[in-house]
């Protein structure tokens, strides 16, 4: 018996890359069916599968850090690359998979309170979509095959359209617009990999990368780069491809928006790094041009996003425009294109996942309890929701880049990278962007801590009136399932700053040193 258990464990350990995808995928497929039997069963299966996926990703990260050459190549169904599909796991995508599954796990638990009173179809469907989105994102992160990446891209996009549309009346046009633009993005991607397939006859990333080196002066490469920039630019809402994003983020389902805004845009960003630096190689002239273009777009996006965020009063829209700006940081790092620049980009992918995730968790809780999203109604909110306001404060400081929060350190690496290449203009843009961030994020803090108390319809009061003496007593500001993710992300924002050097040293630089 004991022996069997060991065998099972070893089997799991050998198949960690694929299990991170397969387990949530099975849960997604089972969710609706099980929900029909018992509403809670469907939810429980998805949440457990995401918990497993998170533990799996952590194990995978540990494995890859100890692996020879810091690399695990997992052949799907034992079909060896380049014929078969492979999962190409190195420290940077393993760690990102950890973060994605973590935020997905938190979001699925957090959503429980939104779906408490819903029918089996709605809650089962919602959890199916959450699980599918996670599958898509984790798959995109880990895969080593360009066409397989397209499949996961579509899985994540389609489930994302659904989750956005669930947000309410205004979210349906937003979801539809994202569907149209997102499809164009996916087509661009298909065009790009189609061209590369024509040039090399391979779909495996590593194999394709080698074969492409001799064809780098082929003018088609410009077309390839342009379609990839368009494809990932649309998916990560990079300026000027961001038009779909503010509505989509603002009106998506409040339970899913941390996952959508936190993780959804980061994976295409990592894919961009994967393509330009790992597959193509930065020593080629065409890639230098392409990354320079990405950097310029990033710099423009940083300014544009922040300026647009300045005149938003809906906190969610403000966060959405801030995401355009923050994605600009990531693109800027790609544009700088040296070890420090890309390290900064990668660190910012992780940091922003925590910052934006935390802020969306917080606004979801405020919406849940008081039904407000307008920052002008936030007066004295810290007295009613201290922990939520703690997370907002931490998120805001991290966005501005105040040490010791994580946001400061990604800025530091980006600045170091820009300095190395003497791109002083990028340093100026970073400073300007921080100051613009300070204006609109500290304005929110000002509203919370200084503005006079606003009159709000408290959900708890309503419940108390309705239920009379039988009403539940509320010791916490929001139900524990919401409060825990909020606090965890609030602390995580600072923890990311404190542990940044470990991430940079053991994860980012071990993987990136081979490239530069």
């Amino acid at each position: 018996m004991r022996h069997d258990r060991e065998v099972l464990l070893i089997m799991i350990m050998n198949h960690l890359p694929v299990l991170a995808v397969v387990v949530p995928l099975s849960a997604a497929l089972l969710s609706l069916l099980l929900s029909r039997i018992n509403k809670n069963l469907g939810k429980a299966v998805v949440i457990l599968s995401l918990v497993f996926a998170f533990l799996d990703a952590v194990g995978l990260t540990a494995q890859v850090l100890q692996a020879e050459g810091h690399l695990i190549r997992y052949a799907m169904g034992n079909w060896d690359a380049p014929i078969g599909i492979e999962f190409y796991v190195d420290p940077i995508n393993a760690l990102l998979a950890c973060f994605i599954t973590f935020i997905a796990m938190c979001a699925s638990i957090y959503s429980l309170s939104f779906l408490k009173d819903r029918e089996w179809l709605q809650s089962g469907g919602y959890y199916t979509l959450i699980a599918l989105l996670t599958v898509g994102l984790v798959g995109m992160t880990l895969t080593g095959d360009v066409f397989n990446l397209y499949v996961y891209l579509e899985i994540s996009s389609l489930s994302c359209y659904g989750l956005i549309a669930l947000g309410g009346k205004r979210s349906i046009p937003a979801a539809f617009r994202y569907l149209l633009i997102g499809t164009i993005g996916a087509s661009f991607y298909l065009l790009g990999i189609g061209l590369m397939y024509a040039m090399t006859g391979s779909l495996n990333m590593a194999d394709m990368g080698e074969l492409l080196q001799s064809q780098m002066d082929n003018p088609l490469m410009y077309l390839v780069c342009a379609s990839l920039i368009g494809a990932f630019g649309i998916k990560m809402a990079q300026f000027p491809f961001h038009a779909w994003q503010p509505d989509a983020y603002a009106y998506s389902h409040p339970g899913a928006s941390p996952l959508i805004s936190g993780a959804m845009s980061k994976v295409p960003a990592l894919a961009m790094i994967r393509f330009f630096f790992f597959i193509f190689g930065v020593q080629n002239l065409v890639i230098v041009d392409a990354t320079r273009l990405i950097g310029i777009l990033g710099a423009l996006g940083m300014i544009f996003g922040s300026v647009m965020a300045l005149n938003q009063t809906d906190f969610r829209r403000m966060l959405a425009y801030s995401s355009v700006a923050q994605l600009g940081y990531i693109a800027l790092g790609i544009g700088i294109g040296n070890l420090y620049g890309v390290t900064g980009s990668y660190l910012h992918i992780l940091n922003h996942l925590f910052m934006k995730g935390g802020l969306f968790f917080a606004i979801g809780a405020i919406q849940y309890r008081f039904g407000i999203v307008n920052i002008n109604q936030f007066g004295q909110l810290h007295k009613k929701m201290p922990f939520t306001c703690f997370t907002i404060t931490m998120g805001a400081l991290a966005m501005v880049g105040i040490p010791p929060t994580g946001g400061f350190f990604s800025k530091w690496y980006l600045m170091m990278g820009a300095m190395d290449k003497h791109l002083y203009i990028y340093m100026a843009v970073l400073v300007l962007s921080s100051l613009l961030n300070a204006i609109y994020f500290l304005r929110v803090l000002e509203k919370i801590f200084i503005a006079p108390e606003a009159r709000l319809a408290d959900r708890f009061d309503k419940e108390a009136r309705r239920d009379g003496a039988a009403a539940k007593k509320h010791f916490l500001e929001v139900p524990a399932v919401m409060l825990v993710p909020i606090v965890v992300f609030g602390i995580g924002i600072v923890a990311m700053g404190i542990f940044n050097s470990q991430i940079v040293e053991f994860v980012a630089q071990t993987a990136l040193k081979g490239v530069f």
């Binding site: 400081l397 040490p403 350190f409 690496y413 300095m419 300070a438 801590f449 050097s501």
Partner: protein, 498 residues
């Protein structure tokens, strides 16, 4: 000798941990205040206990954790850091008691937030003192910037809100420029560790580049120290409660700025490079203008706290001026001015606060004959004033005397003239206050009975007042602060021949 010691970390950690405990104990004011006092006393014991070791030549160091891939958060207790940390942590104890008396006497709202951010400010100030490299310095510097903001907007009315915004605009922009400066310095020199005498040299970049970076670096310090024309935030921040003013203007924020300027001049660039660049002369001109102009403005202010704020602006530029002289005596004067001004100005501000709480008066013109009602308080005010003016046997004299000698040592008589004019102006704006208090013009004064401030406020005032005199007579009283100033100045100026 470098000794690994946990005390520098504890001195920083006490107030930081206390701030969290304070936030969670808002409903029990007595426990909350107990945390504040325990943290203050703990930090002060840690800091003061190291001073004799530092004077003896030990350097205590603690590497907490890596900050980035190449730099770490390191706390190091050198002469200069120990000097500033002793002052900040000791005065925190004093202000912690005073704040209890003031906040309760004045029935302030939101006291929990006040005490919590107050603690974070002190944590950052001690951190700034003990920072071993520029990045650690920057971390604490920005923490200080943010933690001071809630103290400035404490009143939560429109005026406070705008002061808060003004404060942020004035401090965040130079903060970001400081970061750019740090990145450039790191790229040029490959190190950020403070070294007495500086680690930069001429070969690292063109003269223009070095000069531009110098101003990027000192800008943040100069703003916090209220140097003109970047002083606008300081008088506006006067809307804050008085213990904050005392803290802002005497200990943490402004001194951190001045201390930062010294760190850049003495420990990053060093006198040798700077004497070639001539940038300190430009900075000195700004300092001189600030000294004179702020005294003139102070003269015309009727609100006592505003008058003291402008006086602070002038007095801090003494520190900058002393550092810019690039002479050992000037540097010694600059270091000791940090100590002397802290004790004098905190006394003055605490007196102003005591008057607000006890007699409900803000303006000098309303204080006709107040010396009769509050004799001890006003005597302390007189002591502080004499120190600011630079009367012998008060601690302000010690620093000013060294500054004068430093100016002569460097062959810069114009600075002597500036310092003397400033002393005259000091007489003109501070002595009238004392005069109004003790010798009322008309006998129709409303202050007929003896009505002193409550002991929580009076005792701290007396302590700092008495120490101002004691340190005027024996500057080495207690933790050898004068020795520290001398040693620090000599370490920075070693190898520079006059």
């Amino acid at each position: 000798m470098i000794v690994t010691d946990i005390r520098p970390l504890l001195a920083v950690a006490f107030p930081l941990v206390a701030s969290l405990l304070i936030l969670f104990s808002g409903k029990k004011p007595n426990i909350r205040e107990a945390f504040s006092i325990i943290a203050a006393v703990g930090a002060a014991i840690c800091a003061l206990s190291m001073s004799s070791g530092v004077v003896a030549g030990n350097v205590y160091e603690f590497v907490l954790c890596p900050l980035t891939d190449t730099l770490s958060l390191t706390l190091r207790v050198d002469y200069a850091g120990e000097l500033f940390a002793c002052v900040s942590s000791f005065l925190y104890v004093v202000v912690a008691f005073y704040a209890i008396g003031y906040m309760r006497g004045h029935h302030e709202k939101d006291q929990t937030g006040f005490f919590a951010f107050f603690a974070i400010c002190i944590c950052s100030a001690i951190g700034i003192a003990y920072s071993a490299n520029l990045l650690t310095f920057f971390v604490f510097f920005e923490m200080l910037t943010i933690a001071t903001w809630p103290l400035v907007f404490h009143e939560r009315n429109d005026e406070a809100k705008f002061s808060g915004r003004k404060y942020l605009i004035y401090t965040l922009i130079p903060g970001q420029l400081l970061l750019v400066g740090i990145v450039i310095v790191y790229a040029m020199s490959g190190t950020l560790d403070f070294v007495a005498g500086g680690f930069m040299n001429d070969s690292m970049g063109s003269k223009l580049m070095l000069s531009v970076v110098f101003f990027l670096l000192v800008g943040a310090g100069a703003v916090k120290a209220g140097m003109m024309p970047l002083h606008g935030w300081l008088p506006s921040a006067m809307v804050a409660p008085t213990p904050v003013s005392a803290l802002l203007h005497a200990v943490a924020v402004v001194k951190a700025g001045a201390f930062g300027v010294i760190r850049i001049i003495g420990y990053v660039y060093g006198p040798e490079v700077l004497s070639g660049l001539k940038v300190t002369q430009i900075l000195a001109v700004f300092a001189c203008v600030t000294i004179i102009a702020s005294s003139l403005i102070a003269f015309s202010q009727d609100n006592l706290k505003r008058r003291l704020a402008y006086s602070t602006i002038g007095q801090l530029s003494y520190v900058v001026l002393g550092a810019c002289m690039l002479t050992s005596l000037g540097m010694r004067g600059a270091f000791f001015q940090i100590v002397a001004h802290a004790f004098m100005k905190i006394t003055l501000f605490m007196v102003a606060g005591a008057i607000i709480v006890t007699a409900h008066k803000d303006n000098v013109s309303q204080m006709n004959g107040i010396g009769k009602a509050m004799p001890f308080t006003m005597i302390a005010f007189a002591i502080g004033s004499f120190g600011i003016i630079g009367v012998p046997f008060f601690n302000g004299f010690v620093s000013k005397w060294n500054l004068l000698r430093g100016a002569i040592q460097g062959g810069m008589p114009i600075y002597v003239v500036v310092l003397l004019i400033s002393a005259m102006l000091g007489i003109s704006y501070l002595v009238p206050v004392i005069f109004t208090a003790f010798f009322p013009k008309n006998k129709e004064t409303e202050f007929k009975e003896f009505h002193e401030a409550n002991p929580f406020m009076l005792v701290p005032i007396m302590i700092t007042g008495v120490l101002s005199v004691v340190m005027g007579i024996n500057p080495n009283f207690g933790p050898h602060l004068y020795d520290l100033a001398t040693l620090a100045a000599d370490a920075v100026m070693k190898g520079v021949v006059h």
